[in-house]
Amino acid sequence: MLTLRALDRKLWRDMRRIWAQSLAIAMVLACGVAVLILSFGTLQNLTETRDAYYERNRFADIFAGATRVPDPIVREIARLPGVAQVEPRIADYVVLDMPGMVEPGMGRVISLPPDGALVLNIPLLRTGRLPDPLSADEVAVAQPFAEAHGLRPGDSFRAVMNGQMRELQVAGIVLSPEYIYTIGPASLFPDNRRFGVFWMSHTAAAAAFDLDGAFNDISLRLTPGADAAPVIAALDDMLDPYGGTGAHDRDRQMSHNFLKHELEQLEALAWIMPPIFFVVSAFLVNMVMGRLIALERQQIGLMKAVGYRTREISAHYLKMAAVIGVLGVLIGWAAGIWISDGMTELYAEFFHFPYLVSAPSTAAFAISGVLAVATVVVGAMRAVRGTVRLRPAVAMSPPEPPKFSRGLVDHLGTWLRLRQTTMMILRSITRWPGRAAVTFLGVATSVAVLVGSFFFFDAFDVMMDEMFTQSNRQQMTLNLTREQTLAAVEDATNLPGVLRVEGGYAVQVRLINGPRESLQSLQARPDDAELVRLLDRDSRPVPVSPSGLILPELLADDLGVQAGDVLAVEFLGGHRETHAVPVAQVARQSLGEAAYMRDTALFELLRVAPRVNQLNLLVDEAALPALYAQIKATPAISGVALWSEVRVQYQEMVDETLFTMIFIYTMLGVLIAVGVVYNAARIQLSERAHELASLRVLGFSRGEVSYVLVGEIMLLTLAGLPLGWLAGYGFAAMTSAGLSSEIVNIPLVVSKQTYAWAALVVFVSALGSVLLVRRRLDRVELVSALKQKE
């Protein structure tokens, strides 16, 4: 039978005695561990899943679009050095008329190879079969859209393809590595009801889009180790005569890009959060062990007197810290695995993976475990070292009474005529500044975490305002099948219920500044635009400068330019020209990275008559059904973006995702506050029980005595708030910078409400924790507290 050594038995009994404090520390530590496991675990799962999916379904490396490329060009492309496989396709947007949907939907049609032998971006069949190569109206439908509409093999729906209303038959349901994240053109979020992807036979697609003997979309796979840049350059050259819109690698592929940013955000989370929790727990362990060891000073002296070595005694106390560490690690692992599984599933649902590769990150477990235990042991080490080194005789005699001295506090006390109980609070803080600092910094950290998470509400409010109130005030944007003269704007005013029309023109460009370049959409903006407006860096609408480029902040940063610099603009999509254009303005833009130019300046540069390929509309709501019907029947319209719907989706996304996330962060912040304050209060109480009992004997009421305990902690809490606000702003700045990408630019705005809420939550948590400890004051027995000397 295993018998515990006496010291180990003491360890377990001590642990039982301070279980609440140990648990509080373990919980804080567990947060750090859980976030590590959760982020790295989810990251690993998703990365492995994505890579397996990409590999098995041969996701391409290079993508390019064009207007019309003759088939023989494919062979030339395949001969480019570094190219392994080529998949030419026909792909275009169509307007959908879905049963039960008044508003028009949008679809992207992709052709399957004529011989049925798919080479790249292979759709994964979920149910049914792929369309018959000879059938004119069979399609395979992407699963998200099929689910949103309850489509099954055998069902049918209608689409306007190249001006013709066609009845399409669902042959099968598929998932595609190209559409892990599905987002329609000119849209901001996945909307599986209004946007879907379809695969149809090559013959049918060629006939529908008038592309017999040609293709307009191509994907390439590179040989292992091949460099993408020369292939992209060569591909651009080859496609230029055919209206090439710019070749790009996976980073510009919408679905891949979104997924990549999501994974990067997860990783950022893993780097930012855990260190905070680890450091806080180290301080807590230091504080609690310090107190415990101070109380056991005489016992330590005794142990040394009977022959225990310094090393053995140190080990005894470090073991205690290690137990807390192990407890924290276990809780953290369990929570991490649990949340990580849930999160991976959430992601899988959001991103439409056909399967999940579960790849437990052993490294994450090992690293988090070792780091967490090491953190607490280091925290304890400092506390242990001083006492265990004392000579037995010194250790066995009581420690010298704390030395107080007169100083600044006294002047303050005299000047403000403070009560003696208040002086006790102030002197305790100045006598033990280190301990006060732990409470102070812990509270500040907690406030910072809350400010850094509540700030998302502010940021999203601003983005909401920018997107839907300031810049995009149209209800819908119509994409035209092809460029048209300004007469199209006039024509659009005759559509049912249309109150105002503003034309827009977008062309693909490559913006180049030395070695830096970016494939973007350049949008022409009329001077008098009122529906679609540009914002300056302070989010105020500004007029479009008469010439030069207007770049959103993030794009300008990426390209390393500012107002006044000159960029090379390579026009794609059939224009085949490169111009040097100065940057006139840098604008604020929440979503996307499109560049802008005054319409007159752009058309002058391209030496073409003014034209449009987009129409922005302000519409009388009552006339919407009629307008929708008209849009479905208008061949010139290839797509519709409904901004009012986008706004609703946006709000839903914020409500669902953001609230959950902020709830979790709030819990973490509260946990830090509770862990720190509870422990600080327990230590206070343990050290001052004698003193506080004396006050009761002298006739102080429970309330007055509590003031000394609660007052000190709450004073430190109040003092910690401003630092927390400041750090929170820094935290928000870090988060906004870390989470901003070319897709979304999160503004750094922190409202007064955010500061106030963060402070309130922390204040209440601290007060709750200290009051919990205060109750113990009632149980302190007056008589026995007076009997023994400290």
């Binding site: 001295s405 003696q420 004698h690 007055e704 007056l782």
Partner: protein, 236 residues
């Protein structure tokens, strides 16, 4: 002249614990403490004298019996009322001083004067306790005797009707102890504060008006001193 009782007890008992492990600290104590008198309570360890003092001072409640402070029955008062009672009427002095280490001598006294109804100035209390010069020192900077005199000053600053002292010289050498006793006697003489002083030191009995000896939780003997001896002449 009829002497007025400040404290009166009727058959108080105090039992700690239950069953076979129960300890009877007091077994039916009837006594009175009169205005202006100095009583020394003697008894061996475990005789119940501290328990008795704690019950008189409302730090503890008896298991049975009644305690009166003048005409109020303390045993019927709520916790809040007992706190108010301690605040307004009783001063305590303990063996281990029980000073607040983070407050200076003056501030330790001010601690009480700030909440008392009709206090004397902290400086006056310290002078009466025989410690006029070291008011701005922290307890750690004072000797044991000095600390005890701060405790006495703190106890008398509220002008209490009763002073309860539990072994006030227990932790002091005899020379220092004399100074502390002198302070207590002079306060008793000058302010007329009824004082109950616990000691296990038989010599100290001579400074009292009355001596109550406790043994085994009961009053064993009550004697009156016809002639009190000044503390300086007491030896122990």
């Amino acid at each position: 002249m009829e002497r007025k009782a400040v404290f009166r007890t009727e058959g108080i008992t105090k039992v700690y614990g239950t069953g076979p492990a129960a300890v009877h600290a007091l077994r039916g104590v009837d006594l009175a403490l009169y205005e202006g008198e100095m009583v020394v309570m003697l008894g061996a360890s475990g005789s119940g004298k501290s328990t008795l003092l704690n019950i008189l001072g409302a730090l503890d409640t008896p298991t049975d019996g009644r305690v009166f402070f003048r005409d109020r029955e303390l045993t019927r008062l709520s916790d809040a009322a007992l706190t108010a009672f301690r605040r307004d009427h009783v001063g305590f002095v303990f063996q281990f001083y029980n000073l607040v280490p983070s407050l200076t001598a003056r501030e330790n006294v001010a601690l009480v004067t700030e909440i008392a109804r009709n206090p004397m100035r902290p400086e006056e209390a310290l002078e009466r306790a025989g410690l006029p010069d070291r008011m701005d020192h922290f307890p750690a900077e004072l000797s044991g005797g000095e600390q005890q005199r701060v405790a006495i000053a703190r106890a008398i600053a509220k002008r209490p009707e009763v002073l309860l002292c539990d072994e006030p010289t227990g932790a002091l050498d005899s020379k220092t102890g004399v100074k502390v006793l002198e302070a207590l006697v002079s306060i008793n003489d000058e302010l007329g504060t009824a004082t109950a002083l616990i000691t296990h030191n038989v010599g100290i009995r001579k400074i009292a008006h009355r001596v109550i000896v406790l043994a085994d939780g009961q009053v064993a003997e009550v004697t009156e001193n016809d002639a009190r001896v000044p503390p300086a002449d007491v030896s122990w």
